[in-house]
Symmetry: C2
Subunit: 355 residues, 2 copies
C-alpha cells in the first residue's frame, strides 16, 4: 500500500527498515526483515529489523530518515509489524514485560500496567491529577477512534463507563490501557530534492530524534516525566526550528491514559501537571486547540507494538493530506508524533510539515 | 573494554548500535539496547537493537559505520551480545530455527543443521566436495582457536576425530557445527578526520555492505552459493577499490564447515567448487596464502549469535595490530569479515585496512 501510494516500485527501494518488538516470542518467526522485504519484492538491499520495545518502528523510521537525509539512500522504506492476538493475554503481558528490567522490577512481579499505575499514582500525588482526568483521555481517544475506519476498537465510551471500568492495576482500569492488536504500517522516504519525481510523496520531515534512558523505573530520578521524551523533543524542535506552540496536531504514545498526560507535558504543550486539566478542558479534542490522537491513539486505534511508531506517521499523513473524513482537523500544517519504548527507556519524536 | 581501548569516554558516544538475535527468547530480557547502553554509562543518545539473525551485530556495525561515514555522528559504538547457554540445547535449536522460514522449512522439521546439511549435500553433488574437505575446515579452525586465549573451545582435533564425530545431520557431524556460546563484542567508530584525536583508533573501514535475500532455502535459485554474500562482497570490494586477491586475511561465517567453503567461493577467493580443495591444500591455514578464521572462527572461538559480527571485526583488529601472539599472521594490511544471517538471507561484508 505504501509503495503504491508513493508511486515507487519495489525494485527502487535501496534499504528496508522494519520495526518489530517481539515477533519471535509472539509468533516464533525471527529474522523478520528479509522475510517481509522479500515478500514485498524488495531483495538484495539491506533489510534490517529494529527493536526498541514499543518504539521499535519509531526507531526504524528514525534510522531510515537519518540515512536518507545524510545522502546514503534515495529511496528507503520504514515499516512496522506485530501480531499479538495469537497468544493468550497472560502470555502477551509476560512478553511485554520483557521490555522492563527483568532482573529488578519484573522479577518482583511488575508488568507494564503496574509500572504505569505507579507512574499514575506518583503523578496524582505530585500534581493532583485525578482518575477523571485520565478517563477523559480514554473518552476522547475512543470518540476519535470511532470515526477511524482503520481503528481496532471503534466504540465510543462515556465518562461513567470509563470510571467504572474493570480494575487492571489500581488506579488504572481496563479503559486506561491500550489494546492488544495485530497491525502493520509502512512509509516511503526520499530526499527533498527528488520530491518532484514522486508526486505521491506528500510530507516533509522537519525534525526527528531518538533518545534513551535507563530501562528500570527505579533508576530514574523522576517517574512523572520521561527524560528520553524531553531530550528527543528538544532535539526534534531544534532541528525543525519550531516550538510546541507551532504544532497543529499530534499523535502521542497513549499506551496508558497517564502516558498521554505525561507526553503532553514532556513535549512542552502544557506545563508540568497541566496535562490532566487540559484534557478535561477539551484542549486536545478534535475541535480543540491541539487535537491529540485523532486516529484514536493506542487506546482505540490499537497498539500492535512494533507497528505503532510508523502507524503514527501514517495517521499524521492522513490528517495532513486532508483525508481524515469525519475526524478531519482544520489546522494541519505541522504534525508531531511521539513514540515511547518501555517505561521511557526509548523515545522517538518526529515533526512533520505539509509539503 | 572497547571504550577504554579507543580512549573514548562513555559521555562522548553519540549513538549506540547493539546486535542481538534472540535475547528475549534466550534470557527473557527485551529492549536490550538502552539496557546495555545505560549500564555502560551511555545515556540520552539513540540506543537501538539490530536483529538480522546471525548477522545481527554485523548489521549493527554496518548501520553505525554508514551513519558515521555520512557525517551524522562523530563517535558511535557498535556492539553485539548473546547468552545462549542458559537454555538446554533442544530449546537453543528451536530458537535458532526462528531464523528460518517457520511456515515452510521449519514446519516440516528443518533446523539449521539440517538446512546446512542440505547445502552440503548439494555442494558435494555439484562440485564433488567431500566430507574430508569439510573436516579440514574444522581441523584448521580448532588449531587456530587453540591458540586464541579468548576462544570458547581451545581444543585441537585430528582429521580422524573430525570424520568420526557424532552425526548431527548427515553429512554433518558435531565437528562440522559451530558452538553454542555466550559472548559479547564492541567497537568504537569515528570519522577518519578525527582519527588523530583518538590514538586508540587503529583501523580504517575501506568498504562495507549489507545485503538480503529470501529466508527460505527453497525460494533460492541455488543453495550452493548465497546471493546475499555475492551482492554484499561486490559492493564492499567496489567501495574499497580492492579485489579478493588483495585481501591478506579473513574472518568468515563458519556456522557450519560447509558455510566456510561456500564463503571462500562467494567472496571470490577461489572459484566455485574450489573451496574444499583449497582448504585441504592449506591455502587458508595460518601460514597459507590467505589465513581464514585465525581466531578459531565460529567453530572454535564460538558463536554467540548476536555478538559474532562485531566479534569478527575485533578479531581482525587483533591481527592487524600485530597483537595475535602465537597465531599472528605476517601479511596484515587488508582484512575482510563476512557475517551471514540465517541460511543466507542476510550477509554483511566488511573490508578493513591498516591505519
Amino acid at each position: 500500500m505504501a509503495l503504491a501510494d508513493a508511486g515507487v516500485a519495489a525494485e527502487a527501494v535501496e534499504s528496508f527498515y522494519l520495526g518489530n518488538f517481539a515477533g519471535p516470542s509472539f509468533a516464533g518467526q525471527n529474522h523478520l526483515a528479509p522475510y517481509v522485504a522479500s515478500g514485498a519484492g524488495i531483495r538484495g538491499v539491506p533489510a534490517t529489523r529494529f527493536e526498541a520495545a514499543c518504539a521499535s518502528s519509531g526507531s526504524a523510521f528514525f534510522h531510515a530518515v537519518t540515512a536518507v537525509a545524510a545522502g546514503v539512500y534515495d529511496v528507503a522504506v520504514a515499516a512496522g509489524v506485530e501480531t499479538m492476538t495469537c497468544q493468550p493475554t497472560p502470555r502477551v503481558t509476560e512478553i511485554l514485560a520483557g521490555a522492563g528490567d527483568l532482573a529488578g522490577e519484573v522479577r518482583v512481579g511488575a508488568t507494564f500496567p503496574s509500572l504505569f499505575a505507579m507512574i499514575a499514582r506518583r503523578h496524582m500525588h505530585e500534581f493532583g491529577t485525578t482518575r477523571e482526568q485520565m478517563a477523559a483521555v480514554a473518552v476522547k481517544n475512543h470518540a476519535n477512534g470511532a470515526l477511524n475506519p482503520l481503528a481496532h476498537l471503534r466504540k465510543r465510551i462515556t465518562m461513567e463507563q470509563a470510571l467504572a471500568g474493570k480494575p487492571v492495576s489500581e488506579p488504572l482500569t481496563v479503559y486506561d490501557c491500550s489494546l492488544i492488536s495485530d497491525g502493520a504500517a509502512a512509509v516511503v522516504i526520499i530526499p527533498l530534492e527528488r520530491a518532484r519525481d514522486f508526486p505521491g510523496i506528500s510530507l516533509r520531515i522537519l525534525g526527528i530524534a531518538q533518545a534513551s534512558d535507563y530501562v528500570a523505573l527505579d533508576a530514574k530520578d523522576d517517574i512523572t516525566s520521561f527524560r528520553a521524551n524531553r531530550v528527543a523533543a528538544e532535539k526534534a524542535y531544534r532541528m525543525a526550528g519550531l516550538g510546541p506552540g507551532e504544532v497543529d496536531l499530534a499523535e502521542v504514545h497513549d499506551c496508558f491514559t497517564i502516558a498521554e498526560i505525561v507526553a503532553l507535558e514532556d513535549l512542552g504543550f502544557v506545563a508540568r501537571g497541566e496535562g490532566g486539566p487540559a484534557t478535561v478542558a477539551g484542549w486536545t479534542a478534535l475541535n480543540g486547540r491541539l487535537p491529540v490522537n485523532t486516529s484514536g491513539g493506542l487506546k482505540s486505534k490499537g497498539h500492535p507494538v512494533g507497528a505503532t511508531g510508523v502507524g503514527q506517521i501514517c495517521d499524521l499523513a492522513i490528517q495532513m493530506r486532508g483525508a481524515a473524513g469525519e475526524r478531519q482537523v482544520e489546522r494541519r500544517r505541522v504534525g508531531l508524533a511521539q513514540n515511547l519504548g518501555g517505561s521511557g527507556a526509548t523515545s522517538v519524536v518526529t515533526i512533520l510539515g505539509a509539503a
